[in-house]
Symmetry: C2
Subunit: 120 residues, 2 copies
């Protein structure tokens, strides 16, 4: 028997990587070009170690690449990994477009309100 496993693998997965606001900021910033860690950290107002750690996660899931440039190490965007997410969410597009959405949701609310009201 083993101790009750606690979590079900979250890291090392793109969905998780972009769940962190700061990592999203990093990715957004990298759209305008490669940058060394220090610069990124400064532009985003975070300490260098912090930026490095986030970059590490991003690198591990393949969202950024790094290459040596003299004394520095330039980080660049590799957005290919975002595509699966774009597509996954895209699979729900019809659900947020259908009239079903605003209208039906509204109707549901009314119904439910009425129901709960008569229950009290």
């Amino acid at each position: 028997m083993m101790a009750p496993m606690a979590r079900a693998a979250t890291t090392s997965d793109v969905f998780n990587a972009i769940a962190e606001p700061q990592r999203r900021e990093i990715l957004a910033l990298l759209r305008s070009g490669e940058r060394p860690v220090t610069e990124l950290a400064q532009e985003l107002g975070m300490t260098q170690p912090r930026a490095s750690k986030h970059l590490r996660v991003l690198r591990e899931v393949g969202l950024v690449r790094d290459r040596k440039a003299g004394k520095q190490r330039l980080y660049g965007l590799d957005a290919r990994g975002l595509r699966p997410i774009h597509e996954w969410t895209g699979g729900f597009e019809r659900f947020w477009n259908e009239s079903f959405d605003r209208l039906d949701a509204y109707v549901q609310d009314i119904k439910q309100a009425r129901q709960e009201g008569s229950n009290r």
Copy 2:
């Protein structure tokens, strides 16, 4: 002064909600219609409490709605919240489409490999 804050708010945010594989499964399943917790749990092979907890997270970020139906409680999809994510990732579309992508990445790899090789 206060104790060193540790995390930077992750929950209660859609990006985080869908970072959990099982929650994505739930959403996917709900595309085919409303369902009570028990049924969801069974179809996904998870215990009822577990399903309930995931549903709670999804409800809190607005990705699912629930309405009472007799003795049961039906959960339904409300995909509107996924749209921002679709759009956010869409903002990187040109980056995974440009030739820059496969070709340039390839070139970078070569360059780097050569560099590292000569460093050893």
